[in-house]
Symmetry: C2
Subunit: 236 residues, 2 copies
């Protein structure tokens, strides 16, 4: 069986070899929840970039641009980092450029050497698991964390995917085991399980509780975003 591993933050990615791995990037609050939502609602592609400057450059070239830093929209951009902003009918067929504090940075770090880069969230957990059951590679879930530190919600997603794939993959690394056990502890009520986490406190101060509740819903969309070149598109 192939191996299922978890990297709890991009600052630990140097410890992982990616040559034989599919990397699943997650940033539950809120980048990858936005990406899944956007592609499910008809966005053509989402180009994740690491810096605000690159995002601005793409905006100047006609992309709709979403830029978030420290959980707030950067001035001069079209979209914030709320998944509800990615459901707009005006975005059907659109090309979006996107930069966030953590999520787009992890995608930038993962691309280079991995077999393939996918994007995961609770919203597309089942579709992602179904896809990965057919793949002949190792899987590494890359949690985006918060400015280099591990966070609870991304770890829980990694654990949910581990639990979904435990019969098809070998789970032997401690980070994967810890994520799986935390998920099994919290799965009955994810919303209350993350209630005291640092990111939820940060977002609640900004009044975006509905983004939190939305992003913890499982299997809303049958979408698997995959990075092709520099853009995320829906896998067909």
């Amino acid at each position: 069986m192939n191996n299922f591993d978890v990297c709890l933050t991009p600052d630990l990615l140097h410890l992982h070899r990616l040559e034989n791995s599919i990397v699943v990037v997650t940033d539950i609050f809120r980048a990858t929840s936005c990406m899944v939502t956007g592609l499910a609602h008809g966005v053509e592609s989402i180009t994740p970039v690491a810096t605000v400057e690159e995002c601005k450059n793409l905006q100047d070239r006609g992309y709709i641009a979403a830029a978030e830093r420290n959980a707030q929209k950067v001035e001069g951009f079209d979209l914030d980092n709320s998944p509800f902003s990615f459901m707009n009918e005006k975005l059907i067929g659109a090309k979006i450029a996107m930069t966030t504090t953590n999520g787009t940075l992890s995608i930038a770090k993962a691309k280079g050497s991995a077999v393939k880069v996918l994007v995961g969230a609770f919203l597309n957990l089942g579709a992602l698991a179904d896809h990965l059951r057919k793949e002949p590679y190792d899987v590494l879930v890359l949690c985006s964390g918060w400015k280099g530190r591990p966070n609870l919600e991304d770890t829980l997603f990694a654990g949910a995917l581990a639990e979904s794939l435990k019969n098809e993959y070998t789970l032997q690394e401690d980070s994967a085991l810890m994520a799986q056990r935390l998920y099994n502890q919290g799965k009955g009520n994810l919303l209350s399980f993350v209630a005291n986490s640092s990111h939820v406190r940060r977002l609640q101060r900004l009044g975006i509780q509905k983004d939190i509740a939305y992003s913890l819903q499982t299997d809303l969309y049958d979408v698997v975003p995959v990075l092709r070149g520099s853009s995320l598109v829906q896998m067909h």
Copy 2:
């Protein structure tokens, strides 16, 4: 209240400011369990060093030398990395030099900027918690992990200390919350909870199950090892 935080591996220590923190270094299997055991059994001091070469230099200067790499004793040294080797009557009053794959490296990384460096294990959990209840600083538990990766047993110890100090310190960082929850999930039977962890599998292949069971015992010793200069001594 002061803050209680957890760093899951030395490879994430750059994300923490240590200027106002007491750092508690842990490496349950087995460096810090050895250190606590040795000082409890009358060893005068233990000098942790990062490299085998430094350990050899101290051996040449009359120290009793313990060197472990990849869970096995390095040839030419006096002691291996089993806590039972640190109970020997011949070590009463001895000065020991020690290097291990993970634990002594984290001590080396922590020293410089922290207020104080202490050594923790399940074996001295209660004594350590009693001491920290009286301290006016933040606490950071530095888990040694395995070659840069987080591991289960060190995370569980961090969680046990978090649980012991939850009324005296603020627990707000996600790494601390995750450790605390994992500990609360596993505390009924730590031995079975760590049974599938990567390090336990590694050690079991080497036939040292008794070190594992021993190191998971709580409150065997009323000892708080503290780094003074370059050596660990018992705090009085």
